[in-house]
Symmetry: C2
Subunit: 329 residues, 2 copies
């Protein structure tokens, strides 16, 4: 069942049918209705391939992230999907996992599917070795990176000033004399770098000489963190604040502290990152830095829209994170 069949049944030419389908001008009301009725009756759906061939676009955007089973990415993908949907775009989801080498393969795949754009979510994409693949992809379609920064032509990035957020966190902690800060970061996340930079800068400005013993690098696993923090406590390492690069890690630390009878926030303040739903699961609830996932995603899609409309959106968009004060600090 193709456009010729419809044309024949309606007694018009395929051009007219095509016009009706695409809501173009220059079709009489009468003809339009007739064609529409027949399409409805037959249950005809235009073939995307033929359409794509003609138009060169299939109204799809590739969204890459490491995994949607992570809260942060899940929320990002959800927002992106819904925003793109309103623009009439479908989302092709690509979860690359942590394997850097896979990324280029996925991008190639998306390119071959002729997506209209690619949205990369997560700092993993700013990691060096994949830059050339991104650059190559960017020559063909717009590439937008969320939560990371990149300096490649035809590439746009939207991120949040995490460095500043952590910097201020340190200052705020120091201001109330919490100067022994345990810093916990996720070994698998490249965005930890930015945060760490903010941390050391904060320490510098506050004359805190941060001991290497107070930097913990762990995989993203609540139990693993708990273990490590317990070890630390039991080894007699003292600290009165914890800053973690992700809520899950902060939560692990919180549990470790509580299981050793330390009070949060009285004895130790605990601060997480991402302002995820996990924050509300503990008691006290977890204070966390809201890095504005939804805003970032909306901005990203807005940029996409501007590009589609042929305008020139800014290459970098920096958002300001917001500290969400709850019970743990």
């Amino acid at each position: 069942m193709n456009i010729y069949d419809i044309a024949k049944l309606a007694g018009v030419s395929i051009a007219t049918v095509s016009r009706v389908i695409n809501g173009k001008e220059n079709v009489s009301e009468k003809t339009r209705r007739k064609v529409e009725r027949i399409i409805e009756e037959i249950g005809y759906t235009p073939n995307v391939f033929a359409r794509g061939l003609g138009l060169g676009s299939i109204q799809m955007v590739g969204v890459l992230c490491t995994t949607v089973s992570d809260l942060f990415y899940a929320r990002a993908v959800a927002t992106i999907e819904s925003e793109l949907r309103t623009l009439g775009y479908d989302v092709i989801l690509c979860c690359t996992g942590n394997d850097v080498s896979e990324k280029s393969r996925y991008m190639q795949l998306l390119l071959s599917k002729r997506v209209d754009a690619m949205i990369l979510v997560g700092s993993i994409f700013q990691e060096r070795t994949s830059n050339e693949h991104i650059a190559q992809a960017a020559t063909q379609v717009p590439v937008i990176l969320i939560n990371g920064s990149l300096d490649i032509p035809n590439t746009y990035c939207v991120f949040c000033d995490e460095e500043g957020a952590v910097y201020h966190l340190v200052r705020d902690l120091a201001a109330v004399n919490r100067r022994d800060i345990l810093y916990i970061e996720n070994t698998e996340s490249y965005s930890s770098l930015t945060k760490w930079r903010g941390f050391t800068r904060g320490c510098g400005d506050c004359n805190i000489s941060h001991s290497p013993a107070l930097k913990l690098q762990v995989p993203k696993d609540g139990d693993a963190v708990k273990e490590k923090v317990l070890e630390l406590i039991d080894a007699g390492v003292k600290f009165n604040a914890v800053v973690a690069s992700e809520d899950l890690l902060a939560l692990g630390a919180l549990k470790a502290l509580q299981s050793r009878g330390l009070r949060v926030p009285d004895d130790v303040a605990v601060i997480g990152f991402n302002d995820s739903i996990l924050c509300k699961c503990s008691s006290p609830e977890l204070s966390s830095v809201d890095n504005k996932v939804d805003d970032m995603c909306r901005r990203a899609v807005a940029i996409l829209l501007e590009l589609i409309q042929g305008r020139k959106p800014p290459t970098r968009t920096v958002l300001t994170p917001e500290f969400k004060r709850r019970g743990s600090f």
Copy 2:
């Protein structure tokens, strides 16, 4: 840059280039290598549309769910994506939200994109009013429903015996004299029905006359649940166990209990559903029913594979859930 360009550069015909691209027989090793080198050099990617036009398939599967920002769906989508990826399929993600009427629109959309199959995640899809749309879609491509059951031709479903799980939960609780069970369910979830059936059956078999006051229907929101449970406690309603249709709800109840000085599990046992990462966030950690998301998804994709290979997989696959005992019961 198309197949003709490659053909010209390689000094062969387009048919040969096509053969090389598709790994067909009857190409001399020498020619193959030459063409491959040129493709590599140029960075040529075949146009999917043209290809799809010829083949009728684009190696994509539509995945529908309400939202990936929900832990359960996120995990499901993650697993489906990765499984499909290994089969060489891309995932088009469609998040319908809770709006039932939207579902048919999305399915139509997917159909028009010529997906090779559709995977529906969540019991919302077994809701009556959309049955006809599913039936219509199923005439064109295989439809697989995860975590729900459906009786429509060309439709396959994979779900978990939630009714049985809740039934056994009630029996287990009754066996240790926890007979005053607060049942909390999500108003937005259709799968609550199945669970409730298990619950009442369990009550019946254990001679528990369950008071309507002990059934709470709430939206999916930890704070809202907490409020409701607090009201209940403050109103003097007594119970020594809580069964919730989702972990998040159980967690809300747990917090309410603890904030009123009730001990978990000593005074009140709390049991959640889905065995999500939330279970490990509270203390005590939340006991929960693992409804085997990953297994369901893997099965679903396996069914898809069988269908592709022209075999006849079973129409219904029922998995057995597993109670994950932690600190709250």
